[in-house]
Amino acid sequence: MNSLLMRYRSVLVLIVVLTVVTMLIRANTVWLDTSVVIAIYSLIALSVGISYGQAGILSVAQAAFASVGAYATAIVTARYDLPAAVGLVLALLLPPLIAYPLARLVTRLNALSLAIATLVFGQAFDIILREGGDFTGGYIGLSGIPPLPFASGLLQFHFVAWGAVLIVAVLLSNLIDSPFGRATNTLRSDTLRAVADGVNVPHVRSAILAFSASVAGLGGWLYAHHIAYIGPDSLGPSVSLSVLLMAVVGGAQTVLGPIIGAALLTLLFKFIPSQEVQGMFYGGALIAVLVLTPNGLMGLRTVIGRWMKSSATKRERATANVATGVSAARRAS
């Protein structure tokens, strides 16, 4: 029972926070709208958390996968009048179908080359979308995407969007606490170690990138039905970078980190003065977070923990000197 609590503690925290926030904002359209946008960005940022935080694959193409999901549902619902559920299936399946072979190609590369390869892929995908003619709506994009039939109001959509985030959070919590997740975690810090454990590294990395693409696709599906419009600029390469920042600022290796990052940066955008100096705030905040807590805001817990521990050990050290001396002598012999 205790391990169950441990495994799902992030999910529980999320449920509590969501309940409180929902109570506060349930009647305010603007905040509900903001909340839905945060949920959508959370999903795409979680996809970064899965690929980068878990497996160390710094993919700068996550928005492209979200775009695949959004375009898929836009094309089948707005053009062919198919139900949004068909769009959902496509949004969950198509991105991994692109991501898995892509991953087999690029995950052999070192971290930096891999990041550049995905960046190039994202930009190439962007051009393909723009050149897609009537099929993708070209540079103009596709409008008139119908709302979800079961969530036409903002409050319902808020529940659907955060429900999706919760499901992903549960799945990710499961994965982290499984042999597959342990293998992923090992290969993130040390590929050779993972190979020596018998882990099929290319397969694990590709499967993780495919899963993350599917999560991004889910975000794209929600995006399309919420905004009712999708164009090449909607989920373009710059969004790939923003969600990367969200995940890193919040803490890419944790379940809650990307969600915190998404909420924080979206709200920051709402409150900092929208002027030419905006970039200074944004860039400065990012550097500050990285310098102060390289593992993101969720990493603050360990930073604080270590600080408290070290000040405690300093106090203990004086008294424990004798004991350590003895054990050191024993080891040296």
Binding site: R108, L109, N110, L112, T191, V248, G279, G283, V291
Partner: protein, 288 residues
Amino acid sequence: MYELLEFSSRGVLLGVTYGLLAFPISLLFIATDTVDLAVGAYAVLAGAVAMFVGGSVNPAVGILTGILVGVLASAAIGSISLMLGRRQKGDPLVLVLASFGFAIFLESVVLTLFGKDPFIRQPFTYFWNIGGIRISPQAGVNVVVGLLLIAAVYVLLYRTSWGRDVRASANNERAALLAGIPVRALRFSAFMLAGLLAGIAGVLVLYTSGMDFASGMHLTLAGFGAAIVFGLHGPLRGFFGGLAIGVVETISAGYANGGLASLVPLLFIFLVLTLGRGGRQGPAGVRA
């Protein structure tokens, strides 16, 4: 055929710019094992300062001030890298992300101080006619500066004790520390040198094609593409990578249409990266 020759030679001239931007990127990679995504932003900053100081004082002072500001900006990210290095061992991607934040920061600084209009200087109003191809004398300046920088970087890396120490500490930081090499000071000086090279590249871009406040990321990516094509481990390779990308870009713009022309250089980089040997990691993880 003649047309192809003209496209290729113009591609080489365009590639010189990319090659110049590749210098600081591969140099930093050799010295510190990381990539600074703000390199293009230093170039833009240097170009903007060179234009405004040059316009109000005189061009030579402008150019020098511009390059100096580029160096100062890179010193900032150098300090950040030292701060990160102390706290965080291992993950070089954290610095990459921090440098991205710095690029956003600098872009905003340039926009606030110098405005949104393009920065450009065009001192030459005549052209050279070389074998029927009309070329701006500025292209000649770029080639000469490019060759001089190749020579200087080569001498610095392979013929001075600084270069030997830099290569040693990049190879094995712990061993270098044990050998008494001041690794942190070297890292910092490598960032400054990268800022210097980026500043020079920025001034040349200002005098060649011009730029605006938002060009930084485009320049970084152009330089990165150039640096990575033939492997990040040699600045000379980076220069020739720049030439290769310039030629591919020009030929595809000359013969293909619309988006396809922009797609070809991207696919070129992607294929060289994924099929080539340059970017692979160690032997064990790679086999399927």
